[in-house]
Symmetry: C2
Subunit: 337 residues, 2 copies
């Protein structure tokens, strides 16, 4: 059986537990890290609960200083020793990061330890014993904070800082459209509880490795192209550029913003080879020209304003030509007269 909980119900459930195991999604980002470690701090310090977070693979370096120690391995026997598994920010079972010794798909049923699934992804299909899925929440960290606020217990500063990290990174520092009034009200409560905004901002936005800066500079100098009077800007990243600067796109979430921030552009694209295919990232700055349908027409997916495609059996010149054709149609080539 699977049951939907309200925020106060989730709070009450957590307060009944003695030993809690916290898990999140693979390749943890700021919100996965923030929601998990923030909840660990809160449950340990304010509820006197024993809590472990497991991360089988290391988180981004920039967040290491904020989080402290954590478990890196997990066995089925260890899982059975907890009263509750708290899953945060993970939309489906396949993505649960629990290490090779535990099957993430069967984890909610076979371990004997019931699971509470707290998430903000609309498509969440974890179906745990208890579920709190709120797509209007900007971040899992926002939900974690709302649960803590509902307990009326003290929120430790470190927990407030970690949840702030999750909210800041998942909203692009309050620049994305998932930033709603309630997001800011919860964030206000975290600041009032001593969340360290300077530290979060430094970790999330002022921690660019120098090799990434050099990579980006050379990318703009050598690869940036404009079309349709600058309404479309795009760049191809050759393999050699990655190699030259020892840069990996796993750290490249912000690179496409270098194109997006240019005045007057409506649609931007960034693409690079990965194995025998091309990865294409698309962004729109104007709701009249959504990139979601364009991506879906080529087998890709994503949101209306941010989408991606994987293209096979093409070289980079063909990718360029295909995107130019599709973007021309999107922007309406009659406007070019």
């Amino acid at each position: 059986m699977s049951e939907a909980l309200s925020i106060p119900e989730a709070a009450a459930l957590l307060l009944e537990q003695k030993r809690i195991l916290i898990l999140t999604h693979e390749r943890p980002d700021g919100d996965a890290i923030g929601s998990s470690f923030g909840m660990r701090e809160f449950l340990r310090e304010s509820c006197g609960c024993e809590v472990d977070v497991v991360l089988p693979t290391p988180p981004p370096t920039r967040y290491l200083e904020l989080i402290g120690d954590y478990k890196t391995t997990l066995t089925p026997e260890e899982v059975a020793g907890y009263n509750l598994i708290l899953l945060l920010d993970c939309a489906n079972r396949e993505r649960i990061a629990c290490g090779p010794a535990v099957d993430p798909v069967l984890l909610p049923e076979l371990s004997g330890t019931p699971m509470l699934n707290v998430d903000h992804h609309g498509g969440n299909n974890v179906n745990a014993r208890w579920n709190l899925v709120v797509p209007r929440a900007a971040a899992a960290s926002q939900l974690a904070a709302q649960i803590a606020i509902a307990t009326e217990l003290q929120i430790p500063k470190r927990a407030a800082t970690l949840w702030l990290l999750g909210i800041v990174t998942d909203t692009g520092a309050f620049r994305f459209s998932n930033t709603l009034g309630n997001t800011l009200r919860v964030t206000a409560d975290l600041l009032d509880n001593g969340a360290d905004l300077e530290r979060v901002v430094n970790a999330a936005y002022y921690s660019k490795p120098l090799n990434q800066q050099h990579f980006e500079t050379e990318l703009l100098e050598t690869q940036e192209k404009l079309a349709f009077d600058g309404r479309y800007i795009y760049a191809y990243i050759p393999d050699e550029l990655f190699a030259k600067h020892n840069f990996d796109m796993r750290d490249g979430e912000g690179v496409i913003d270098l194109l997006r921030e240019v005045a007057g552009t409506k649609v931007v694209a960034l693409y690079y080879r990965k194995g025998d295919s091309f990865k294409v990232s698309l962004r729109s700055k104007d709701q009249r020209y959504p990139v979601g349908p364009l991506a879906r027409s080529l087998g890709g997916g994503g949101h209306e304003m941010a989408a991606g495609i994987t293209l096979r059996e093409m070289d980079h010149n063909q990718v360029e030509a295909l995107l130019l054709e599709k973007v021309a149609a999107l922007l309406g080539d009659r406007e070019q007269d």
Copy 2:
């Protein structure tokens, strides 16, 4: 006589007026624009008041689309035709932008029209008939919004969007330490009233002219220097670089962030020649190494984490050497062993 008002008192005073003249500071930035034009929309639409904004010099191009028409000139006779002058975001009389025909210093007394001075600068010394000066407010736009909220009247969407612009630009999109819980609660109310976050973010952050991007790229490629294991990063901007890219530092507020965003750096500096002196901008990323005292020791000023100096009778190599010496002392050269 000069009287301090509370937010509800300022709201009540505004609601009694029929014709209001709104003024702000010279070289208006996002908050000057946002607070002024937001208040115009609110007082016109929700209070039925006649309101004019005067801007003797044009605002930044990126904000033009948000604000609509405005008056560019003002005579003493025109001033006398208003019931109230509402001054927003202006810390002293010398900086009031009212055009050449009106003396800004005498404006509050000689026009016969009383002035309400609403501002968030700690050092505000306007001493108008009525004053609402709240240094803890992140932006004058925040105060304008709080006044509107206090009236309990409807806040038009356009007013909410303009005040959001002021708050976003004065907080660096909620990244600066002036972002407090109350800042976010007021912003939440603006979003609930339909403020257009996408439009504000595009105007403030995704409107970089292409020449500025080229200027920045070449600056990083050719001028960025690291010292003290990268804990200090600095760049000198030669005159030729400004000329080559037709770039003016009046639009260069964000340039120093390109240095600040690098991982591991504690202090950054950017300097360039202006006339027969050098302008130096300094930023700290770590409260243990404040740049305020360094700037003051060289005759400059500013805040602890963001300061500036004007240096005379030096060439750029001497500026470089002087800053290296001062920053070495700040960072503690013993740590270099």
